[in-house]
Amino acid sequence: MRRRYLAAVPHVIWLSVFVVAPLILVVVYAFTGSGGGFTLENFENMGSYTSVFGRSLWLAFIATIICLLIGYPLSYVLSKEGPGMQRIFIMLIMLPMWINFLLRTYAWMSILENTGLINRLLASLGVFDLINRIFDTNISYIPMINTQGAVVLGMVYNYLPFMVLPIYSVIVKIDSSLIEAAHDLGAGSMTVFRRIIFPLSLPGVLSGITMVFVPAVSTFIISRLLGGGTNILLGDLIEMQFLGNAYNPHLGSAISLLMMIIIMICMFVMNRFGEGEEQAVLM
């Protein structure tokens, strides 16, 4: 009777075998060579990938900021709609997630290509002719695909719902009597937002930021489809070490380990920032 906690034992065993042990293996692989002995070689070799680390962090950072700049106002506007409308809009935000994300990203290729839909539209509107006549240039398309901009666009597109949903779910739960009380006490709309709504929505913001940043920094599909071969990210690097031509799980593990540490540092900083707010808004 008292031992109801024993029901968790199988799960704890499962977690140790299939979550903890694999992570330990990553650490072991990261510090060994193909011969088997201890080595730091994998980390020493990583100097040549500094630019990839930099690019991954930078692009993921920009995508997270853009998601926040779009997602916060959107959640705020949504929360002011009537309950029926709110439900429909939330449904509309989640619906695209049901289409395979590879396909959605692939569809962006059709839109952004040099002979893609946007360039075709601009050409048929005579935009390029006009530009060519005015500036005496000779362009027939705007290069959009295979740029860092396209990669950021893909990240924002795929992960924007992860920013909107947690922020929205926190803002909706804010007690409206708090806002009324503030108004009664003479606060203007700006003050109410700055002193009440924003501080109370911070847990949602923090959770949204992690939920966008982590997949963005580790993606390899978006960069491969929209970034061409030139904008390799950390995810691509890891994938190449495990399933690609450059088979070297030891180096791959070392990169994974470093990425995990970066993610952990980011989360630690975020948690500090949020002063230990509960992260219960995951869903």
Binding site: A7, P22, L23, L102, I111, F242
Partner: protein, 288 residues
């Protein structure tokens, strides 16, 4: 006090155009008469017919649905049991287990996938070595080695699904009135009876929610499957292989069908919810 600003409406409209533009392109070109994905050449239903004859696509769709269904059901049962156990733990232990439980949720998919593939590959190698030495020792042929395939794929899916089920069942357990369970036992129910007749019905919304989340995560997953499935192909993996060459419009047709199915399901759920809410409102106004 509800303010509806024009700029808010414009923002919403822009975001929805952004979110639905690629989906619109995808659906429109599923009816295109040639394989081009940027030039409209005429209307056809051919891709929908060809879809059902394409054995690669249908095969991988079958693998996806099978692994998602099995993984979701196992994860839901295991997750519910585990949630009950975790709920009854001392606070300190509970926090440790929950932190462990959160690893697959928070961690990057690629690290989950890569680390599990390392586990599978190295344990397969060890088992092969063990069976080799056993075979020579005993003089019979034993083979304990395995290859990455449906089994490892299923284990991976269960592993990343269970935490989501636990996270959706635990809040319901917290809302549960603890006296209910004891009352049932005082009235003569055994532990098992009380669990199935009292606890389970009370936390059912959380369980159903967990099942839906688990199934969705499984169907949608690409990265973890990619590293753990070996020679088996899920639908996402088939699509990924196609993006390297060229995606056939059959895939557009398939995702159009899936999109319409999900759309209908969501509409039905929403209509049912809002009619239930109306009934509740009526009841309340009658009561007061």
């Amino acid at each position: 006090m509800r303010k509806r600003s024009i700029s808010g409406r414009v923002l919403m409209a822009l975001v929805f155009v952004f979110l639905y533009a690629p989906i619109f392109v995808l659906i429109v070109f599923s009816f295109n008469s040639t394989k081009s994905r940027t030039v409209w050449t005429g209307f056809t239903f051919d891709w929908y017919l060809k879809l059902f004859q394409d054995s690669t696509i249908m095969g991988s769709l079958y693998v996806t649905l099978l692994v998602s269904a099995i993984a979701a059901v196992i994860a839901t049962v295991a997750g519910t049991v585990a949630a009950v156990g975790i709920f009854n733990m001392k606070r300190r232990h509970r926090n440790t287990i929950l932190a462990l439980n959160n690893i697959p949720v928070i961690n990057a998919d690629i690290i989950t996938g890569v680390s599990m593939s390392l586990l599978f590959i190295s344990s397969a190698a060890i088992l092969t070595k063990v069976s080799l030495s056993l075979s020579s020792l005993l003089g019979i042929n034993i083979n304990l080695g395995f290859k990455l395939g449906f089994g490892t794929l299923l284990i991976a899916h269960i592993t990343f699904n269970v935490p989501y089920v636990i996270l959706s069942v635990l809040p319901k357990l917290r809302q549960l009135d603890n006296n209910l369970f004891e009352a049932a036992q005082d009235l003569g129910a055994t532990w098992i009876q009380a669990f199935f007749k009292v606890i389970i019905p009370e936390i059912r919304p959380g369980i159903v929610n967990g099942l839906i989340i688990a199934f969705t995560m499984s169907v949608d997953d690409f990265v973890i499957s990619y590293f753990t499935a070996g020679h088996v192909q899920t639908l996402s993996m088939t699509i990924y292989a196609m993006t390297k060459r060229r995606i056939t419009p059959e895939i557009n047709a398939l995702s159009t069908l899936l999109f319409i199915t999900v759309l209908f399901m969501l509409i039905i759920i929403n209509v049912r919810q809002s009619s239930q809410e109306k009934k509740l409102k009526k009841l309340r106004s009658k009561l007061s």
